[in-house]
């Protein structure tokens, strides 16, 4: 139970970073992001993602446009804003620093 909790806390911490990374390689719509995240086992349930996306969008990191879909109603396609790109870069370097320090500590 405790390990599960810690794991989910960790995942939650890096979720934002991962969403931004995924979007840096191209525009995606919510279900695509979910698919990728699920594949990487970063999220278990889809519900986690929606509040995050909305919050990032409101923070100006993301923007979206509506795109017609062949099956069903139009879809929301998310893309990174310039601000988001900058934020992603800072996150990336922070993450690398973190990985290195954590590695150093755990390998001692």
């Amino acid at each position: 139970m405790i390990t599960e909790n810690a794991q989910s806390q960790m995942r939650k911490g890096v979720l934002e970073f991962c969403i931004l990374s995924l979007l840096s390689s191209g525009d995606m719509y919510a279900s695509d992001i979910i698919q990728e995240m699920k594949k990487a086992q970063l999220i278990v349930v889809e519900g986690t993602l929606y509040p995050l996306l909305t919050r990032q969008k409101n923070a100006g990191l993301l923007c979206y446009r509506w795109e017609e879909s062949t099956q069903g109603p139009p879809r929301k396609y998310y893309s990174l804003t310039n601000e988001g790109r900058q934020y992603l870069e800072t996150l990336k370097s922070a993450w690398q620093e973190l990985v290195i320090t954590v590695d150093q500590i755990t390998k001692k």
């Binding site: 939650k12 919510a30 279900s31 278990v44 889809e46 519900g47 509040p51 996306l53 909305t54 109603p73």
Partner: protein
């Protein structure tokens, strides 16, 4: 068969089962309340709805056009429980909220009676009642078993039909009297998943350790099957018994089954139908019987059903029943009124037949009036108001009128009325007047003629029967008056037991006619 609702999710229309709708509705409400205090609420929810719509589209095919409860549960599994939606900042707040509503002692919420599918042995009735009354289900089951020989099985069967099954998590919460809120629903769903998971694990274990587990679980299901089969047999037996009694009753009423057969095989049903025959013609008795059966039966049934409806708080499920009840009650009432009016018509016309008989006595003689003393008269006098014999004979009496039944026929006995009047001539005579009613003059006369009365004159002795009888005819207000006319100077003397035929005269006393009066 299930009722469906049509919903609009993100601009798409879905047909969804009612229970699934309840589930989805409470799920979305739960999510909405998670974000209640954030500005992004609407947007997040519409995103989530869009995703659910997408998932639903995958579940629908040409052969499966509506969203079922299991689809919704699947979606909830994919989307996550309401708590998963919250982001870290709001977590502490939610935690405390959770703790509050997990507190089970909070019982402000009205309980409703449902059948409990999770803890059932047969139909979940006992478990449902136990949850409603805060008892251990074992106690309720024990009560049902104890009342086995009285009404237990029938009551169980009726309750089984009428009490709805708690299908959705919110109904299960209502059954337990817990608040229907997101956390509780979530918990119920969690419990259900756990149960499914457990049973799946058990299956796996069973597969692995086949020899150990297999026999054990087999014996449990065996006992369950025996229980169910036993219950079915009992219920079937009770229904069959009811039908047999009803058929016998109807058979006697309609004379399809001879009275003798019933009288010898089941004595207790005989008096009821015979009793009605005294007053009512055959065709009317069938009609009246059905009328009373429908009227009383439907009223009792509707009281029971409505009582249970109030207890369960379920007003939707049996909405059509009350109109059916009203229909049958009115039908029963109509039959009662028609048959009563039909029978009442037989009392329409009143008529009388007189017959005159001369009495040869001298002017100064004394007419001795005696009562005949045949066996039947004694027997009837001895009997109480209601008596019943082992051979199926029975009798009852209403004031001075007595009915005696033997072998399917009945005889009505009643006291005649004795009057003494002054003769206008010098001779003595007796006039016997028979009164009866009928729907026509002819019928009234034939009813008059159904009266049998015996009497005898030997010189100065007049012997009267204490009863007149009506054989094989309905009771139509038949009356018999014996009026004796004697000239002035002639005396009469009443013998033993005659005083009950007349109000004015006493036994063993000589009265002489003097100027229109007896002295």
């Amino acid at each position: 068969m299930k009722k469906t609702v049509s919903i609009n999710l993100n601009g798409q229309v879905f047909v969804i089962d009612e229970d699934a709708f309840d589930e989805l509705h409470s799920y979305l409400n739960a999510i909405a309340s998670q974000f209640a205090n954030s500005e992004e609420s609407d947007e997040i929810i519409s995103d989530i709805e869009a995703r659910i719509a997408e998932l639903f589209t995958e579940y629908i095919s040409a052969s499966k056009q509506s969203i079922t409860l299991s689809d919704v549960i699947k979606v909830v599994e994919i989307m996550g429980k309401p708590n998963d939606f919250s982001d870290e900042t709001q977590e502490p707040k939610n935690q405390s909220y959770n703790n509050q509503s997990y507190n089970r002692t909070d019982s402000r919420f009205r309980k409703r009676l449902f059948r409990d599918p999770d803890n059932r042995v047969i139909g979940g009735v006992a478990a449902g009642i136990a949850a409603w009354a805060d008892l251990d289900p074992v106690i309720v089951r024990a009560l049902f078993v104890v009342s086995f020989f009285i009404f237990g099985p029938l009551l169980y069967f009726i309750l089984w039909i009428i009490i709805p099954l708690a299908k959705t998590p919110s109904q299960r919460l209502e059954m337990r009297g817990e608040e229907v809120n997101l956390q509780n629903i979530e918990r119920i769903i969690k419990e259900e998943f756990q149960q499914v998971k457990d049973s799946l694990n058990n299956l796996k274990k069973k597969g692995n350790r086949r020899h150990l587990k297999h026999e054990f679980s087999e014996s449990i299901t065996g006992i369950g099957h025996i229980f169910i089969a036993f219950g079915k047999i009992i219920i079937g037996f009770i229904i069959a018994a009811f039908i047999i009694v009803l058929m016998l009753f109807l058979g006697v009423m309609t004379h399809i089954i001879p009275f003798d057969f019933v009288a010898t095989h089941c004595n207790s049903t005989a008096p009821v139908s015979s009793f009605l025959h005294v007053f009512i013609s055959q065709s009317s008795s069938v009609m009246l019987f059905w009328g009373i059966l429908l009227f009383v039966g439907t009223i009792i049934l509707s009281i029971i059903v409505n009582l249970i409806k109030v207890i369960t708080g379920n007003y939707r499920r049996w909405w059509f029943l009350n109109s059916i009840f009203t229909f049958f009650t009115l039908l029963g009432l109509a039959l009662i009124i028609i048959s009563t009016v039909r029978e009442a018509k037989h009392f329409n016309v009143s008529t009388q037949i007189e017959s005159r008989n001369d009495i040869n006595i001298q002017r100064n003689d004394t007419l001795q009036i005696e009562i005949s003393d045949s066996n039947i008269n004694n027997k009837i006098n001895e009997e109480s108001n209601w008596s019943y014999k082992d051979n199926g004979d029975f009798s009852f009496s209403i004031s001075s009128t007595k009915c005696h039944f033997t072998k399917g026929d009945f005889t009505i006995y009643s006291n005649p009325e004795l009057l003494i009047k002054q003769s206008k001539s010098d001779s003595s005579y007796m006039i016997i007047t028979k009164h009866a009613n009928g729907d026509s003059h002819n019928e009234a006369i034939s009813n008059c003629n159904s009266i049998n009365y015996s009497w005898e004159i030997n010189n100065s002795n007049l012997i009267l029967a204490p009863f007149f009888t009506i054989v094989k005819s309905n009771w139509r207000l038949q009356k018999l008056q014996v009026t004796i006319f004697i000239p002035i100077g002639t005396s009469i003397k009443l013998g033993k037991d005659l005083s009950k035929l007349t109000k004015e005269l006493k036994e063993d006393q000589v009265y002489t006619m003097k100027n229109g009066k007896l002295d």
